[in-house]
Amino acid sequence: MSTLRTTMAGYARYRGREGQLSFLLHRVTGLGTLLFLAIHILDTATVYFLPNLYSDAINIYRSTLFGIAEMGLIFCVFYHGVNGLRIAYFDMIAPKNWEIPSERKTAIWTLVISLVIWFPAFILMARNLLINNFGLGG
């Protein structure tokens, strides 16, 4: 597995620019979402297969740790979505954008847009968490 080592070292040490950053983010967010989705399908399925366990499952989601992870998940879904749209648009509709100025610009904008739409969600979720897990705010 020496290539795997090389690859990971490359991710960490090759000074790629916006493109490498968005590739890594897209991949991590995609995998993160997938992992969550798989778990989520399974836990939701308990409503039919093992209804007794559902409330245990949902309790895990309500823990603080999971609450924070969930905020991350939302970011993953937003970032992956915006960036996925960007890639799909470039690939299928306007390949002319695959050049340095527009790649660098759009990659940064993608991150900014994701953060902008994530921020209100983050506030709402943080509020939920604070209220329910720490009894704050009424």
Partner: protein
């Protein structure tokens, strides 16, 4: 100006471990990185090994990782790096043979696999003269004719680091050069190679290739165009003329 240069040194099979040798040099900021290497080799350490020939970015010999990025040592000036700490390492994904020299054979093998030559079995023009091609058609593939096979792109590509069987951006660039040449009839053969599991689809549009290309080829764009042909089955040979290329020029 005083700078320190750290260079990766390793001869697999001879040295047990790679090491970094450090040199302190007094340089003119306008010097090329290649000039530093020549200087070190000539006056400090003759055992340092690297490739070079043309010294002005047209032969493709000296792709290496300079401060973490693939570039040609002869096309980067000290002042371009904006620092007095310079780290020079071999490109990633091809086996190091000695210091900054890597084994290029697999790279050329990939290049050959896309049939990088004009395929056209039609009879030549009866008058023995040129096959005609409009200026717009010529412009269509101009960008990808510039490739000097330096491997800076392929060895900057994360999917290639992981999977050396991936045909790589350089080979796709050279396939593009022929697929979009209106005189060529070999697109189908090339496309069938490129649609293989280790062909063009392994590109995840990371864009490191385009950033690294010393010839400023729009590599990711070229790759996207090849993908588009694979997806649609249609080749458009009409390019955009850059500038009012009025021919003959008086």
């Amino acid at each position: 100006m005083q700078i320190t240069v750290k260079i990766y040194r390793h001869i697999p099979g001879v040295d047990t471990q790679p090491r970094y040798d450090e040199y302190t040099l007094d340089v003119d900021p306008k010097e090329r990185i290649l000039d530093l290497l020549e200087n070190i080799k000539g006056f400090k350490d003759g055992t340092l090994a690297f490739r070079r020939s043309c010294a002005h970015g047209v032969c493709g010999s000296d792709a290496m990782r300079i401060n973490g990025r693939n570039r040609l040592a002869c096309k980067v000036l000290v002042q371009d790096l904006d620092t007095d700490q310079i780290v020079i390492e071999p490109i990633i994904g091809l086996d190091v043979i000695k210091d900054l020299i890597v084994d290029m054979d697999p790279f050329f093998e990939q290049y050959r696999s896309v049939l990088p030559y004009l395929i056209n079995d039609d009879p030549l023009p009866a008058d023995g003269k040129e096959r005609l091609q409009s200026q717009e058609q010529r412009a269509r593939f101009d960008d990808t004719t510039k490739c000097i096979l330096c491997a800076a792109c392929t060895t900057a590509c994360p999917p290639f680091w992981a999977n050396r069987k991936y045909v790589g951006p350089a080979a796709i660039v050279n396939a593009h050069r022929f697929i979009f040449d209106s005189r060529d009839h070999g697109a189908e053969q090339r496309l069938s190679r490129l649609s293989e599991p280790d062909g063009v689809w392994r590109c995840r549009t990371v864009f490191n290739c385009t950033e690294a290309c010393p010839r400023e080829i729009k590599i990711t764009q070229a790759i996207a165009e090849v993908k588009e042909v694979l997806a649609s089955g249609k080749i458009n040979y009409k390019g955009v003329q850059i500038g009012p290329e009025r021919v003959g020029s008086g």
